[in-house]
């Protein structure tokens, strides 16, 4: 059940909202139990036979979290944390990467191992990372309070952010769920939530979904794709992925606001970034924060002697992980590697030169680099990526576009997407402004 599905918007969401506010009046923890049940229902709607997996993950990790918190001995705490992280990564690896590993073994050693063909549990990457963050926070004493199973379940399965994030932190969410006033309808949050949902719907349904048709056409006809078509294809995908993902996150943010829950910002006008470093401060912020706080910083801190070269190597490895997190494909690894290299180049530039490029020039070059990396992200094969890039370089000729039936329509959608990206404030600004205005009243 996706957010723009009418069953979700006009049946599931209104019923859950009504029952949530009704239940909250009568019992201290009813809101928690009710949202957990709604979350399971939402998850099971996609595939009821795979839904026990998330239940197993919740129960096992809840148990590990309590073990870590209740254990006073630092070494045994550390061992439990390592085992729990290993099991979570194994769980993710089996369902997401097993066939990818088998395919590569078959290719490398010329053997014919059978693929497992396991179904891919929805949102597994999101809830696994979120759970690992929880366990590490338990270890570091950041989560000290005793956690109830219903609280932990709600943290994992809160349906607005379950499928596509943002990746949330336990303390941030629980503080809001525990706040009594948040269990009463807040008209301003409610209206703001509805506006944000509409913005998200517009971004997803009008912009992203229309660009998808064009993108699919371009990428599936990439052989000898000529100059204009290849540029339009790559640009369309770069805007499509942004509007698709950020539109979905906007809907998640808006839906959470209907429950008086503020989700963390995940996108902050990323295409206005003036460097690759800056891009990752604005794109999928909660993933970048996870990688920074739970992999990059601890890894650098674990070095006996940190130097620029070692830190750059770690940054590159972290971006390989980021790339692979998106899915089991070498192309995602290339996407991660290119961003890692971009970041390293950026850091070297900052280390060696003491001047700042003009904002607009920096933004233009950053966007071009990001646009290039997204070709690998979207392509079905390396040949597919190379064809598009060759086309963009003019190596396949400059004839007029002949793949696309409705050039005016798609040109208009792309133009609207560009204008919105560069001329408008983002949703996060709207929320901040609205809440500031509310305080000033």
């Amino acid at each position: 059940m996706l957010f723009h599905n009418p069953v979700f918007l006009f049946i599931f969401l209104p019923i859950v909202l009504l029952l949530y506010y009704y239940a909250s009046k009568y019992s201290k923890f009813a809101h928690e139990y009710f949202l957990v049940v709604a979350g399971f229902f939402f998850y099971a709607w996609w595939n009821i036979y795979l839904s026990p997996l998330i239940i197993i993950s919740i129960i096992v990790n809840f148990y590990f979290g309590n073990l870590i918190k209740n254990n006073l001995e630092k070494n045994s705490k550390k061992i439990i944390l390592m085992i729990s992280i290993f099991l979570n990564i194994l769980f993710l690896a089996i369902f997401k990467y097993a066939d990818f590993v088998i395919e590569n073994i078959n290719y490398l050693f010329n053997v014919n191992l059978d693929l497992l063909n396991l179904p891919f549990p929805l949102a597994i990457s999101f809830f696994t990372f979120q759970t690992i963050a929880y366990l590490v926070d338990c270890y570091n004493g950041i989560i000290e309070k005793k956690t109830r199973l219903s609280q932990f379940s709600l943290f994992v399965i809160f349906f607005p952010q379950l499928i596509a994030g943002p990746i949330v932190k336990y303390n941030h969410m629980m503080a809001q769920f525990d706040e009594k006033n948040n269990r009463l309808i807040n008209q301003q949050n409610f209206y703001l939530g509805l506006v944000i949902i509409l913005i998200g719907l517009f971004k997803k349904v009008i912009l992203a979904d229309n660009l998808t048709i064009f993108v699919e056409n371009g990428f599936s006809n990439s052989e000898n794709i000529e100059f204009y078509a290849s540029w339009l294809t790559s640009l369309s995908f770069t805007f499509q992925i942004y509007f698709d993902f950020s539109g979905y996150v906007d809907m998640a943010t808006g839906i959470a606001l209907l429950f008086n829950i503020r989700l963390p910002t995940n996108f902050n006008s990323p295409y206005k970034a003036t460097s690759i470093i800056n891009f990752w401060q604005k794109w999928h912020i909660t993933l970048a924060n996870f990688l920074t706080n739970y992999i990059y910083y601890p890894w650098v801190k674990s070095l006996k002697e940190a130097n620029f070269f070692k830190i750059m190597t770690i940054i590159f490895c972290v971006f390989l992980i980021a790339g692979m997190w998106h899915g089991p494909s070498w192309l995602f690894l290339i996407f991660g590697a290119l961003h890692g290299l971009g970041l390293i180049t950026n850091h070297i530039f900052r280390k060696l030169f003491d001047f700042k490029l003009n904002k607009y020039i920096a933004c233009f070059f950053t966007f071009q680099y990001v646009n290039l990396t997204f070709i690998f992200f979207r392509s079905s094969s390396l040949e597919n990526s190379i064809s598009i890039i060759k086309g963009m370089m003019g190596l396949n000729g400059f004839e007029s576009i002949n793949y696309f039936d409705d050039k005016v329509f798609i040109g208009t959608i792309l133009l609207v997407a560009i204008i919105i990206c560069y001329s408008f404030k983002n949703t996060n600004y709207l929320i901040e402004k609205f809440q500031l205005d509310k305080k000033n009243i």
Binding site: T274, I277, N278, T292, Y297, P298, V300, K301, A306, R350
Partner: protein, 74 residues
């Protein structure tokens, strides 16, 4: 406190390549484009070395202003 402040400001100034005059107790990472995750980790590593105090990795992301660093070191 004032010694700590001077030391922290000088460390931050060195790693973000910003004139010491432009940094004060109210400065924070968002104010300087060069105060990125690399500068942040270098600042923390140098504070640890100069002050002989271990800073937990889990705290690094919170110490993104002069004030928060000073409060942590109290």
């Amino acid at each position: 406190m004032s010694n700590n402040l001077e030391l922290i400001v000088s460390i931050v100034s060195k790693h973000i390549k910003e004139d010491i005059k432009n940094i004060d107790i109210n400065s924070k990472a968002d104010d300087f484009y060069k105060w990125d995750s690399l500068s942040q980790i270098n600042i923390i590593l140098e504070i640890e070395k100069k002050m002989s105090k271990k800073i937990e990795a889990s705290k690094i992301s919170e110490l993104t202003s002069i004030k928060s660093i000073l409060n942590y070191l109290k």
